[in-house]
């Protein structure tokens, strides 16, 4: 009861703080800046917040909070633009949105998909805030109930979504997820520091591959290349069908799905250490399992957009709990947020356990500023979505060079290495072939995302469990099989069983014809070679670092088994079997006027030129050549477009204080920014 006695006045104080015109003004300013940053894939909240940091010092706390929260809150909303319109996952929060959002855009229903996504986002954000208001004062014990075994189970639940997204041949989905996990283990192991598929002679790989690069490579590169080959617009026949009101209506028809996914988002977001990357997949899996007619998933099912989008904004609210209550950031942007709060005012607001006791009014202000920012951001996004959706009617050959530029820039921002762009290209190649031969790309990405949590939590939980077992058997069992673990275990088993039964009707890659044996078998052998190499490499780690080798060995072993069975099946089955799915046999890719390698060479050319001339100069050359030769634009159009795009790039880079990839030329000669 006394909880309410302190919570209610604090809530009233919070509203009094928020509802001042100047505070709302700062909030709107933050939202607008967040939208501007968020539409650039791969930049997201971290870049935006870093931009604001210099102004936070000594600022009036509630104003600074309004500015920062406005910015953070809209990133998971605005990155929906690139997910839906271009098939580029803007951030880890919108990967699942790509699966159905982009096919909708290709059907000419971009505005509908966008407005459904935004409405779902808005609703998720509000549900999150409402839930938090009640929950935050009692959240502490619940958060502490989630130990390592529980977190491991949630990661495994996330992984079990592979079953739903495995595609027509379940073994291929399993192998794709296994390959994703193996690629996720590349680099220095967290536990013992052993190197896996990396060497200190080539330092780039020792840090592992960044999620941004893998996300862009797996989803964006294959779609861009495929569309460019077909030389058409994203929306078929360059027409827009459904408008934005349809999207709002779609959301209303699926409001209960939206409620459930919002709650999933808040609850998973509350658990520190998981981050947001599982949430949208769990929500997507839930959306699939609760839909009667599953045939449209992967081809443009609106429920596949509403589910993940409801959860990803709600997750931001949930993520505030570990951030504010424990001082433990749930994400990169939250880490900067914590640092920035210490700079505000006289520096006396300290995020952590004391926050609820000393600053409950500020805590509530943060929760409701987040909700308000969601409302403002969503309304702005819906307002412009009809206009922005027209992008999908432009001939894609005009869009492609800018998208290549955007994803190369985004990849470079993740680590500021030239190798980042090379890695994007390499992962892009994997993505292209996974798509071509109908190996589930979502399964690959889920494997990659969850590789680190699964490895970390299983090692740590194993270590602590064996410590408990040494004390007594009961204590050990109690630790591993807590009630939460048992519930999660049951949910996981049900989701795998249902998922496998349903997977055949869900075609994440759309319809794919089958063809001859040769190309699919060659691709399988390439993967097999990598898996064997990775296994041998992991096996070479000395036994005293067992924690570093056990997960790659187990995952690699399972993947190898799956691949060998597939190989046997491929040898035995006749040509034309579904196992030999190949997009180059029939359909859009096969009929495309341009070849794969020729199209890819343009992108490779941009990378090679960057290596020599640096990004900005290479870009100028690339855009001019591409527009003249491939798009056959007139000289004035070519030059105007090139100049406009380079100017935009420089304004963005300059405002965010970001460098562009340098090349050999920059090593030799000192050039002024932005050429340096």
């Amino acid at each position: 009861m006394d909880l309410f006695a302190t919570a209610l006045p604090a809530l009233a104080d919070a509203w009094a703080l928020i509802l001042q015109p100047v505070v709302l003004g700062y909030l709107v300013l933050g939202v607008v800046m967040g939208l501007a940053v968020g539409v650039f894939p791969g930049l997201g909240g971290i870049a935006g917040l870093s931009l604001l940091l210099p102004f936070m010092f000594g600022m009036e706390p509630v104003l600074g909070l309004a500015l920062m929260i406005g910015m953070v809150a809209v990133v998971p909303t605005s990155d929906t633009f690139s997910s839906v319109l271009m098939g580029i996952p803007g951030s880890s929060a919108s990967q699942a949105t790509v699966l159905d959002g982009f096919p909708l855009a290709r059907k000419g229903q971009a505005a509908r998909a966008l407005s459904a996504a935004f409405t779902a986002s808005l609703f998720g954000g509000l549900v999150g805030a409402l839930f938090l208001t009640l929950f935050i004062v009692v959240a502490r014990p619940l958060v502490l109930a989630f130990g390592l075994p529980e977190m491991l189970m949630i990661s495994i639940l996330g992984l079990s979504m592979v079953a739903v997204l495995a595609g027509r041949v379940a073994l291929k989905g399993l192998a794709a997820a296994g390959l994703g996990m193996l690629i996720g283990t590349i680099g220095v192991a967290d536990a013992g520091g052993s190197l896996r598929m990396a060497s200190y002679d080539f330092p780039y790989l020792t840090d592992g591959l960044q999620l941004v690069i893998v996300g862009l490579g797996i989803f964006a590169v294959p779609e861009i290349v495929s569309l460019l080959r077909q030389d058409r617009s994203i929306a078929k026949d360059a027409t827009l069908g459904a408008g934005w009101m349809d999207g709002v209506r779609d959301w209303f028809a699926n409001k209960w799905l939206s409620v459930r996914c919002s709650l999933i988002g808040v609850l998973v977001g509350v658990i520190p250490g998981l981050g947001g990357s599982v949430v949208d997949w769990i929500a997507y899996g839930h959306a699939v399992q609760t839909t009667k007619d599953k045939s449209q998933f992967g081809k443009g099912e609106i429920r596949g957009v509403i589910g993940p989008e409801s959860s990803n904004n709600a997750k931001e609210g949930g993520g505030l709990v570990p951030t504010l209550l424990f001082g433990i950031p749930g994400s990169g942007s939250m880490a900067i947020f914590i640092g920035a709060i210490a700079l505000l005012g006289s520096g006396d607001i300290e995020v952590g356990p004391a926050m609820l006791r000393d600053n409950l009014d500020i805590t509530y202000s943060i929760v409701w500023l987040l909700a308000l920012a969601n409302v403002v951001g969503t309304l702005l996004c819906i307002g412009v979505s009809g206009g922005i959706a027209k992008l999908t009617t432009i001939r894609f050959t005009y869009l492609a060079p800018f998208l290549f530029m955007l994803i190369a820039f985004a990849a470079f921002q993740s680590g500021q290495n030239f190798e980042d762009i090379l890695a994007l290209f390499a992962i892009g190649l994997i993505g292209i072939f996974l798509r071509r031969f109908d190996w589930s790309r979502p399964a690959f990405l889920i494997g990659f995302v969850l590789s680190n949590p699964v490895e970390k939590f299983s090692n740590q939980a194993f270590q602590i469990a064996s410590f408990r077992f040494r004390k007594s058997f009961e204590e050990g069992m109690e630790y591993i099989f807590s009630p939460i673990v048992i519930v999660l275990l049951i949910v996981t088993v049900i989701s795998v069983v249902l998922g496998l039964r349903q997977a055949k009707s869900i075609m994440a890659e759309g319809e794919v014809q089958s063809g001859s044996k040769r190309a699919p078998i060659v691709f399988l052998l390439v993967i097999l070679a990598y898996v064997v190499t990775a296994l041998l490499n992991a096996n070479a780690i000395p036994d005293y670092n067992l924690t570093d080798k056990i997960v790659p060995l187990v995952i690699g072993g399972i993947t190898l088994a799956a691949l060998l069975i597939l190989l046997a099946q491929m040898i035995l089955r006749p040509e034309g079997d579904t196992i030999f799915a190949d997009k180059e046999m029939a359909g859009e890719d096969a009929d495309a006027p341009y070849g794969l390698w020729g199209t890819l060479a343009w992108f490779a050319g941009l990378i090679a030129a960057t290596y020599v001339l640096g990004f900005v100069l290479a870009l100028a050359g690339f855009l001019t050549t591409f527009l003249r030769v491939r798009a056959q634009a007139t000289w004035p159009k070519t030059l105007a477009l090139t100049a406009a795009v380079i100017a935009l790039m420089c304004v963005m880079g300059g405002a965010l204080n970001r460098d562009f990839p340098p090349g050999l030329l920059q090593d030799a000669v000192d050039l002024p920014w932005p050429l340096k």
């Binding site: 502490l144 989630f146 967290d190 020792t206 433990i328 006289s346 520096g347 270590q463 602590i464």
Partner: protein, 358 residues
Amino acid sequence: MTIKRLATSVAAIALMAGPALAEVDFSGKTIEWVIPFSETGGSAKWANFFAPLLSEELPGNPTVVVKFMPGAGSTKGANWFQEQEHKDGTLLFGSSGSTQFPYLLNDPRVRYEYNDWIPVMATGTGGVAYLNPEDGAKFDGSANGLKDVDLIFGSQGATGLDLVPLLAWKMLGMNVEPVFGIKGRGDGRLMFERGEATIDYQTSSGYLSGAADLVAAGTAVPMMTWGALDENGNIVRDPTFPDMPSFKEVCAATDGCETEGVAWDAWKAFFISGYPSQKIAFLPKGTPQDVVDTYVAAFEAVRSRPDFAEISSNEVGRYPMFVGAGAEKATDEATTVSPEAKAYVIDWLKEAYGVTIE
């Protein structure tokens, strides 16, 4: 030098017939402060705190921006800085204990040399170890009662700052099993709060903002601080926690723990590198003395702000902020370790955790 500068100043006054400005002027320039970690770490917080203050005090009030160059446990950024030469004084670099330890341990990734760089400012911190109430009751100022207790500690890795507590507990004869692979000390505290870990430590600010509440609630029992350095390089009680014994006192009271000899020297060397001289700001090699002096004066001015103690409480606590010659001494202490001490730590890391640095 002084005469030469006097002469140029006089000449400048004569030429401009105006008030003498400092020779170094950063008007309209942008100073890049490169941090070899990501935006989310403690060094980012540190640089973001100092950047606006530095901007106010440097002549010409240049914009000071913090740039992040994470990778390979900060050795990537440090290797990059090693290759930079002085241009116009607009480049600053921030190193941390995680940059210093690989250097001390001969990590193969290290291609940087601290002796080439010019330190202008250094800050430090302290650390506090604490136990769960059950095992904490067995602690009586010595660790004698803790020797046959098995303890679990959530650790970020044996070759980082956790090296200092792990080595301290080992010297006390305690059996602490590290669970590796956590990210950040906050995660370690959470593991402790969940009852999965039974011993933990936090840096001073982390202790005050997080763990002190646990102590107040009776769910944690403080054990010791790492101590602090006095002017003569002796380890004394930490000024932030004057009521807590330092590791030196606990070690002296515990059977089998020596406060001299190679193990102690090794611990002390890594302690100094990781805590009292944890974060250091450097100018690149070849920076002329007038630029160095300008930075030292600016940091000096930051330190003497009347409100500095108040606004910096989260960043530097009650620990001294070193500037100029003090920073040089701090850097010297943070990056020097005797060959015996180094060999001792390398052997121990290999034997206890199978960590080899080749």
